[in-house]
């Protein structure tokens, strides 16, 4: 059950983190 929990949260977490990182990278331009 724990393995499945880690797997599922990773599957949804990684794309979300990737999207957030990309957005933050672009957002930095606002403060440069």
């Amino acid at each position: 059950m724990i393995g499945r929990l880690v797997f599922l949260w990773t599957v949804v977490g990684i794309p979300l983190l990737w999207g957030v990182m990309k957005t933050l990278q672009n957002a930095l331009k606002l403060f440069q």
Binding site: M1, V11, V12, W18, G19, V20, N26, A27, L30, F31
Partner: protein
């Protein structure tokens, strides 16, 4: 065999099932359908399908292409309203599967439309079919999550609906990457991107289909006891969907959602030109795009933050904050513009957009508080018609008033002042609707079995 796998009975969780396996299932669906917010990345490329690098004779124009998203949003609201009761009856797995077929299939039909250069096929594919996928997918996990988390319904639905905001953050860079990858001398890569995204999103949504479970009828979280004396404005009764929309509470909540969304959505659509015009010469289009990205991020974060907060301070108080703080922030925007303070301006809009997202994410728990868990997903579906109305009302107000002022000689930098005060007016109406909220009269309560 397939039919039985999708049936609600098969999805009842065994004893000892970890309820934290359900939010990622909901997120898999919402992260996918949240792509809709990033559809504008396809707008320009869709106007260059023949000319590839420029619009050639025979290419569609932006106005024609803009209808694709509008049709999808209209079908989001209407399909959520029409299919809400079916979603409750069929269960989350069958409805998520249907949403995956519609959303993924919508991309494939649209790709065929690009291949034949027939715009009506894209309207039908992404607009109608994809829009139904959006509506059914949006409400599919809501009542399931509320039943799994009776102790934290705001946090649970906030997590899922956060995915709808986060989906755009993933889809925008993903679309650009895929179009760059598939670009050739004879194609700008949109067709191939549509096919790829259709397949990827279908498969990703299937993760949700496979992993979603509903709790057994008598299930409760370990150690959790329903409060003996319910909080004010939290019912222990149930109201059926057909009865719910005859209550004044449904229409007050409809007003709350519609006003909160109208104010936010009007700004989202105009965010890029607005910051460039208010701070003329200091903000380039690239920086304005960063501003749009940043407020999208706050739109996403606000969904989980405010919905979780509402579990502690109550739904009514949460919306009171949205409306009162919103009025203060919107009315300060013209002053911040005159002062030329970009950081304060950006901060104000980040908070405003967090409350816009928070409004979406907190409404399912508010509905549960007022109408119980019995058919909360279906009631939520009908309430989403407020989104469809707000999707027209907000942008129309902002765009038309701005244009009217510019036509009457108001400088572009000041053309948003009146708009902001009108947004305050919308929030005031929302505040009054929320202020008038009272428990549902017992005559509307459902007396039958809810199992």
């Amino acid at each position: 065999m397939t039919a039985s796998f999708l049936d609600r009975e098969i999805t009842v969780a065994p004893v000892g099932f970890n309820r934290f396996l359900v939010p990622p299932a909901a997120l898999a669906v919402h992260l996918s359908i949240g792509q809709a917010y990033a559809f504008s990345t396809f707008n320009l490329p869709l106007t260059k399908l023949i000319g590839i690098t420029h619009s050639a004779p025979g290419d569609w124009d932006l106005k024609q292409v803009g209808w694709i998203f509008s049709i999808a949003i209209v079908f989001l609201g209407s399909s959520a309203a029409v299919f809400g009761r079916w979603v409750e009856r069929a269960g989350p797995r069958k409805s998520m599967f249907t949403a995956a077929l519609c959303f993924g299939g919508g991309f494939l039909v649209s790709a065929f439309g690009i291949h034949l250069h027939q715009l009506w096929l894209i309207y039908l594919g992404y607009g109608v079919l994809g829009g139904c996928g959006l509506g059914i997918g949006y409400i599919s996990p809501v009542s399931t999550l509320i039943k799994w988390f009776p102790d934290r319904p705001g946090m649970a639905t906030g997590m899922a609906i956060m995915g709808f905001g986060g989906g755009a953050l993933i889809a925008a860079p993903l679309s650009v990457m895929l179009m760059d990858h598939f670009k050739t001398a004879t194609s700008n890569g949109v067709l191939e991107t549509f096919v790829t995204m259709g397949v990827i999103y279908f498969m990703y949504m299937m993760i949700g289909v496979y992993s979603v479970r509903v709790p057994a009828h008598d299930w409760k979280p370990a150690g959790w006891v329903a409060p003996l004396k319910p909080k004010q404005l939290v019912t222990t009764a149930n109201v059926a969907v057909d009865m719910a929309w005859r209550t004044p509470q449904f229409w007050l909540l409809w007003g709350v959602l519609c006003m909160n969304v109208s104010a936010g959505i009007g700004v989202i659509g105009q965010a890029s030109p607005m910051i460039q015009e208010i701070f003329a010469g200091r903000v380039s289009p690239a920086v304005a795009a960063s501003f749009v990205g940043l407020i999208s991020l706050f739109n996403m974060v606000g969904r989980i933050f405010w919905a979780s907060t509402s579990d502690y301070i109550g739904r009514r108080n949460t919306y009171m904050i949205f409306f009162l703080l919103g009025i203060v922030l919107y009315s300060s925007v013209p002053t911040l513009g005159h002062l030329g303070s970009i950081p304060l301006f950006v901060a104000a809009f980040c908070i405003i957009l967090s409350m816009y997202g928070g409004g979406f994410a907190t409404i399912p728990a508010y509905l549960r508080d007022m109408f119980g868990t019995y058919q909360v997903g279906a009631i939520h579906g009908r309430l989403l018609t407020a989104w469809s109305v707000a999707g027209v009302l907000g942008p129309v107000l902002v765009n038309y008033i701005r244009q009217y002022q510019i036509d009457n000689g108001v400088p572009k930098a000041q053309a948003y002042s009146i708009t902001m005060y009108i947004m305050c007016g919308l929030l005031l109406i929302g505040f009054l609707c929320n202020f008038a909220m009272r428990p549902v009269n017992e005559k509307y309560h459902y007396r039958g079995s809810t199992s």
